[in-house]
Every structure is written in C-alpha cells, then in structure tokens.
C-alpha cells in the first residue's frame, strides 16, 4: 500500500508543476534543436538537390537511406561526434535539472513551484550532485563485477556450443541483468540526491552510503515504486508509438502533427522525472520523518540566496 501511496503522491506533485515541466521540456528541446541543425545540414548536403529525396517523403526507403549514409559516411561520422559531445554536455547539465526539481520538492516556503526555486535549487545542489556522480563509481564498479561474475557463470553453462537456444536465452538474461543493475544504481543515486537535498548537506559520500542502506533495507518497496513509475512511462511510450504508427507522415501537415505529438511525449518524460523524484521523496520521508530542509530564499533581483542549513 505504501508503494501506491507514494506513487499517488509522486503523480500528484508532478501534476502540480506544469511550469517545471515546461522548463524541462525547453531544456530538452534546446539541446535537441542543436541535434536537429546538425542532422538537417548533413542530411541536406548529403542529398543535396538530389531527386532521390523526393521519394523519401512518401516512403522510408531504407535502401536509399543506407545508400545516402554510405556515400556520405564521413559527414555523418562528424555529425555523430558532434552529437556525442552534445550528449556529454547535456549529461552535465541534467545534474542541474535534478537539483532544480529536488530543490522545489523539498522547499517548504510555499513558493516551491516557482521557476526561481527550481533554478536556485539547481545551482545550490550542482556541486554536490556532481561529486555524487563521481562517487557513484563505487556503485558502478561492484555492479560491473557482479555482472562479470554472473556472466562468467552463464558462460560456463553455455560452453557447449551445441546448446544454441540456451545460449540465446542466457543472452537475454544478460540483457535483463544489465538493465536491472543499471536501474538499481540509478535508484540508489536518486535516494542519495534526496538525502542530500532534504538534509541540505555537503556530506555526499555519507548520503550515498545512507542511500545504499535505504534501498537494500527495503528493496521490494524501492524497486517496486521505481518500476511502477517505469511502467507508467512505458504506457505513455506505447500510446505515443501507436499514435505514430497510425499517422501517415507523408505530408507537411502530418509531419508537424507528428512533431507536436512528440513534443507532448517529451514533456511527459519531464513530468515523469518529477513524479519519480516526488514519489521517491515521499517514500524516503515516510521512513525518515519530515526532516525538512530550510526553504530556499529567493530574493528578487539577485537570484537566490541560500541560507546555511543544519546538517541532518
């Protein structure tokens, strides 16, 4: 029942923050528009004024697309390098977003839904969360070791090459294990951020250790809550894909309709991000009492001034 209560709380809190959802969407769209510029310039120069392009409007002919990719492989290679750099920058920037969301969620000033609180939270927690990201190596390494150990054991079971189907099935197990471990680390990181934000502490490593204890102390609850929210995201994804499958993207009008619906979907991911953090915060508070951090004081004109908070 606690899972459902936290889930409800998370969904409700996210619904109350349309402005933050808008900020998250905008943040995503700004980075993605750079990718758009990169791709469209490379794609346009690859196809140039070629007549081959006309056919692509009505049919996604993979044979033509692969030919374009092959003949202009170098340009697309440069584009991919640019996109990787963009992803890295986005990753660093997303640490700010996490701080912003949590800053608002733990703020008790009554202005927690304001954009200023979001940005102030992002700023105040950035250094802490960045350090947390670096410290997370202590989670990734054991996860990798664990994966390697299981993988070796599975490898022993499939040493006989005649067990082809078993080998395939165990490859699926490997993929599932990879996803599970990846999300397990993400869950621990989420709770570590919550501990840092609720206690407004710079003791990042202790928060990480506390988060590990918290998650492993109640794995059913923490994982269940995370995957329940994940299921919600999956449902939204399926709805989006079904809509897209039914939309014949062959005219300018339908191209733009598809684009707008995609933006709604992306906005829903921002909403889901807030729901994740709000639900996990509620879960954390239900065990730790409401160790409320002091409100982030926002002074008009000079941004936010963060008062000293007691370590807790």
């Amino acid at each position: 029942m606690r899972i459902l209560a936290c889930y409800k709380k998370g969904i409700g809190e996210a619904a109350l923050r349309p402005r933050i959802v808008l900020v998250l969407w905008l943040f995503n769209a700004v980075f993605a528009s750079l990718a758009y510029v990169l791709f469209s310039s490379v794609f346009a120069s690859a196809l140039g004024r070629s007549g081959l392009a006309a056919g692509l409007m009505t049919k996604a002919d993979m044979n033509v697309l692969f030919e374009v990719l092959t003949t202009s492989g170098r340009a697309f290679g440069v584009m991919i390098s640019g996109l990787l750099a963009l992803l890295l920058v986005y990753f660093l920037a997303s640490i700010f977003i996490q701080g912003g969301i949590l800053g608002g969620l733990v703020d008790g000033s009554g202005r927690e839904r304001s954009g200023r609180v979001f940005f102030a939270g992002g700023a105040v927690h950035y250094g802490r969360f960045l350090r947390l990201t670096v410290y997370s190596v202590v989670l990734w390494v054991p996860a990798l070791v664990g994966y390697a150990a299981v993988s070796i054991l599975l490898g022993l079971a499939t040493k006989d090459p005649t067990k082809e189907q078993l080998s395939f099935d165990l490859d699926i197990v490997r993929i599932v294990l990879t996803v599970f471990l990846f999300f397990l680390v993400k869950i621990i990181m989420d709770y570590a951020r919550i501990r840092i934000a609720t206690r407004d502490t710079g003791e990042v490593f202790q928060a990480l250790v506390g988060a590990v204890r918290f998650v492993f102390g109640r794995p059913g609850l923490t994982l269940g809550l995370y995957y329940l929210l994940g299921l919600t995201g999956l449902l939204i994804f399926v709805v989006w894909r079904v809509f897209f499958a039914a939309l014949p993207v062959t005219t300018m009008a339908t191209i733009w309709i598809g684009f707008l619906v995609t933006q709604l979907f992306i906005a829903s991911r921002g909403w889901l991000r807030i729901a994740y953090q709000a639900a996990q915060l509620a879960n954390h508070r239900s065990f730790n009492g409401r160790k409320q951090a002091l409100p982030i004081t926002v002074t008009a004109g000079d941004g936010g001034a963060i008062p000293e908070a007691p370590a807790g």
Binding site: L47, G51, A54, M57, F265
Partner: protein, 669 residues
Amino acid sequence: MKKTVLLVAGAVLALTGGLSGALSRQVVAYDIKARLVPETKAVEGHEILTWINDSANPVSELPFHLYMNAFKNNRTTFMKESGGAHRGFKVDKDNWGYISIIKIAIRDGGDLTGAVTYIQPDDGNPDDQTVMNLALPAPVKPQEKITLVVDFVTRLPKVFARAGFSGDFFMVGQWFPKIGVLRNGVWNCHQYHAHSEFFADYGAFRVDLTVPDRYILGATGRRTGTVKNPDGTTTYTHVQEDVHDFAWTACPAFVEFRERFTLNDPPVETEMILLIHRSHLGQKDRYARALRNGLEFYSKSYGPYPYGTITLVDPAPGAMAAGGMEYPTLFTGDTTSWIPKGVRMPEMVTIHEFGHGYWYGIVGSNEFEEAWLDEGINSYSEAKAMDHYYGADRSLIDLAGVRIGEIPYQRLNVIASGRFDPIEKFSWDYVSGSSYSLNVYQKASLMMLTLERWLGEDVMSKVMKTYYERWKFRHPTAADFVRVAEDVSGKDLAWFFDQVLDSPDRLDYAVTDLRADEVNAPDGVFDGQAASGKAERPQADKPGEKGEEPAKGGGEAKRAKAAAGPRSFRNVVVVARIGEWVFPQEILVVFADGKKVRETWDGRDRWKRFVYVGPAKVVSAEVDPDHKWLLDVNFTNNSLVLEPKRGPVLKYALGFMGWFQGLLSLLSL
C-alpha cells in the same frame, strides 16, 4: 572383392564417355572406401583412381590436391594468408587437420610411395603440402588410362574453414587425394589458399562410407546400398556420375527429411534430402521452401536440375564455420534456432549454395583463377531469385519496418569499397579477403545485373541459358562467357567487359549543374542599333528548342536566344563523368510544363552541357534515370532538382530530433 573389380571396370568404361547417358567427358573415376573413426576424428580411406590422359601429349607426372594439409600447421599457405582464421572462425591449435598418404601404387604395378614429393606451384612455400606430385615410372600416353591405388588417413580439424568436426558433427569435404586438371597440356593444380575454392575434373564416384550405427549420414549422389556391419557400424554406398567432387557429412543429431521435387517445364525430377540438426527443427520449413524456390528458379532460368538428389546439410550449433558451402549435389545451409523470419539469412544461404551447384558444379568454373565465374554469376542468380520470391525491396531483411533488398545491399558493399583490385584476378592475388569477396561476389553480381539492364532481360535470359547449355559439364573461362554474351546479343561488349572485369576503377556519373536563368530583353548597345529593355524582344529560331553546346571547352558555340512570349528561360544542364569508366548515358530532363526530354551521351568526355531555351523552366535532370548502371557508385548525385522540396529533409530531421529527444530524456530520467 569381385564386386569392387566389377565396379572399377564400370568406372573405367564411364571414363571414356562410353557409358550411355553420361553428361560429361568423364576424365576421372574414383572408387573409395572410407571409415569414420569419431574418437580420433579421422577418416581411413582406400581410393582407386582411374584417370585418362585426355591431352595430346604424354604425361609423366601426376599432381594431386591434398587440401586437408592446409590445416596441418601454422606455416601452410592457407594459414599464412588467413592468419589462422576464416570468416571470423579461428583455428583450434589442439586439433590440426591433415592427410597422410600411407601408400600409393599403380594398380597391378609397383609401389610409388617413395616417389611422392610436395610442390608449391603458386608461392614456393616449402611448408605447404597441399599439392602432391607423383613421378610416374613411365608416361601415360594420350588417351591412355592409369589406375592408382591410394591408402590414406585424413585427420579432420576442428571446423573453422568449411570442413572438419565439431562435437559429433562431421563435415567431410576436400578429404581425399584428388587429381589436378590437365588443361591444354598443362596441369592446373593450385595450392589451397585462404581466399579461393576449388577446381577439378568431371568423372564418376562410387564411395562406401562406414560410420557408427547411430550416425545419420548424407553424401554426394544417390544412395545405392546400406549394409549393417556386425561391429556396430553401417556402410552406405553413394554413387554419382558427372560431378567433380564428393563430400559427406555425419551426425547422430541429424533428422532426415526426404521430399520429391517435380517440375513440368522444364522437366525436373529429383529428391530433396534435408539433414536438419535436432536443435534446428523449427527451421526445417524455411530451408525446404528456400530449396524448392532455388530448384524452381534455377531450373527455369538456366536449365533443368540434372541430378537425382540434392542434399541440404544443416550444420550443428557450434559448427557454423561449416555452413554456407557447396559441393556437388550437396551443400551446407546456415541458421540458428532463434533467427527471426524477417532476417532471411537461411533462405539466402540456401538459394546461394544450391545455386553453386549450377555455376561451380554443373558449369565447372575454375575458382582459383576466375572465381567470379562461380561466385559472381551465382550471386547475380541468387539475388534475382531472392527478389523474385521475397520482394525486391525486402529480399534480405524485412523486420520491424526495416526493409533491405539484396541488390541495394550488394551496392552498399561496392560503394564502401576501395579501388584496389579488378574482378578478374587469381584468388590469392587480391589485396585482402574483403577485396576478394566484394569483387568476385558483389561487384561481379552488379556487373551481371548491369549487363542485364543494358541488354534487356529477355536477351540476358538467352545469354545465361546459352552459356549454361554451351558450358555445362565443361570448364569455361571468362573469355567464353564474353563470347556467349556477344554471340547472343549480337553486340560488341568488349568496351563493357574490358573496363569492368579488368580495371579496379569505378563508374560514377552525375548531374553537376542545373540552372534556369530568365532571358532578359536586349539592353545596352548593339551594333547598328540602340536597344533598351522596352525595345524589342529577341526572337527564338524555334521556341523551346534545346541548344546543345560542345562538350569540351568553356565557350558557348552559339548564343541562346530567348523564346517568344512574355517570359523565357535559358535552362542549363551539365552532366559529368566523375569515375573512370566510360559508359553511354541517357539523361532525362523534365520541364515545368510537363515536357520531358531524353538525351543521350556517349559518356566519353569529362562533362557535357545541354542548353534549352524556352518558356518553361527546367524542373529536374537525371542521368541514367532507369538506374540501368547498377555499378554506378553514387545514385544520390545522379539527379538534381531546381527547387528542392524541404519536406523530406524536414521529415527526417524532425524524426531524428524526436529520437534524440527521447535519448536525452532517458539520460536524465
């Protein structure tokens, strides 16, 4: 023993072509008894070989292929060239493969074991023992026969290149001493190379194969006898005439399926034998359907399948290195238990390997020296068959909305390749394995498809049928193929084959410029009169007529004149030869008023300009609009439009943006 003598006598009769119904000039006859010893991964063999000197000169030495010695150590030519790996599979150094000649003698004559030497005609590598030379005590005179008796033991390697074992699966190919081919009085007997397959003479085979009872066996030819032995083994007798090799397989986990295949036009009557590994039973129907398709397509397109059996061998899991290989009347497929239906690898491999039965088996191409005659012609045939049965745009992959056809896939390989080698070359002389395969498979296939689109499908069909008919059960060369193509089409095709077969260069034509400039009214100073913009318009000699300019040089030959009417445009189309190969071209020019003009160009010069003056703007121009020249390495530059539509770029760029946004949101979740 009596039975053996009778059979050898029969084989000798067959040698001379005297056996009624023989389809080939049978130069060899093999009578082999072999026993599989699974514990030692060995085959113990006793071979009686009869060979006829079909040349005009006496022969005093006989060379033999001992292919299995390619896997004897790490210094053989095969190992040096391949680095001990083949198609991604590595040699198992605990399981080398080799063939030992225990004894070789002339029947009813002296022991010649001491006269055995090893020769290396291709590279002089003293560590290579894949060609054995036998000096004879007396020459074999023209049209005279010699019968040799050979005792040998073949130790099979862990399979990593076509033949060998994996667990209790055995693929036994290139396993017995096989005599070379005497062509024009010269022996053709190459060493086993990393990037070449095989070549041998036609004849008759009778082989007794003894394996433990629990093994299911498949082999070249038809089964004529099965004898259970008291020692827990079974001997299977297989017989086949008009083939140049013999291979077999054995595995207790095979499930055997037999199915009659009949065709009325042309008449074909054969038995499909499918040996499917137990773990791949779910793939049986895919294999069977593909084999039926192959039998039908090749029989209808080239000539009726002439043998009584065709055996498909499904390699055991872990033995994929044995997959995708052809032998007369027997070939290996390639699949896994989990491969999705939309990935048509089992179908493609099945049709391809079956097809080799035509272009390596029935038409006896020399795969050492002109591999494309088999691999290239067969890749062409297979691509046509795959397109015919599975759809041209999805013949290779049709999965989750991703559709890839075989011919575009072949093009991608050629486009992405370097220009190091031509198609026609000795197999071991290519700069790399990938250069060998893209030239002899994909580029040669595209050459055939290009030729087909140039000559027309009907003419090409006649070319292929004639080539098959003229060269079945014989050994053609590239020159023979060209001759058939020229005979049937009535065209001189030297310009085509000289470039494509012998040059590593490329074909690439492009439309490099497309303009529509409005023709202004005369303005300025003209001799003898003054003119202004409002004075008078220049009159076109013939409104809308194109003005063609010389191909070379920068100056225009004649001044374009504006057409009558309110507006007139000077439309310019420039086509260029980017690649080295010279091919005649057609250019399709489309105007805004719907008018279409087809131009021709011999394609020799580096560029050519077409000028059209008229009331309509040019909309687009395309060189090779029918995509006849599949060898053209860049179709994207074949056309230009005057005003490109933003739609396609917008569609894919926004689609890409949405995908990227999803990735970003996943990253921040």
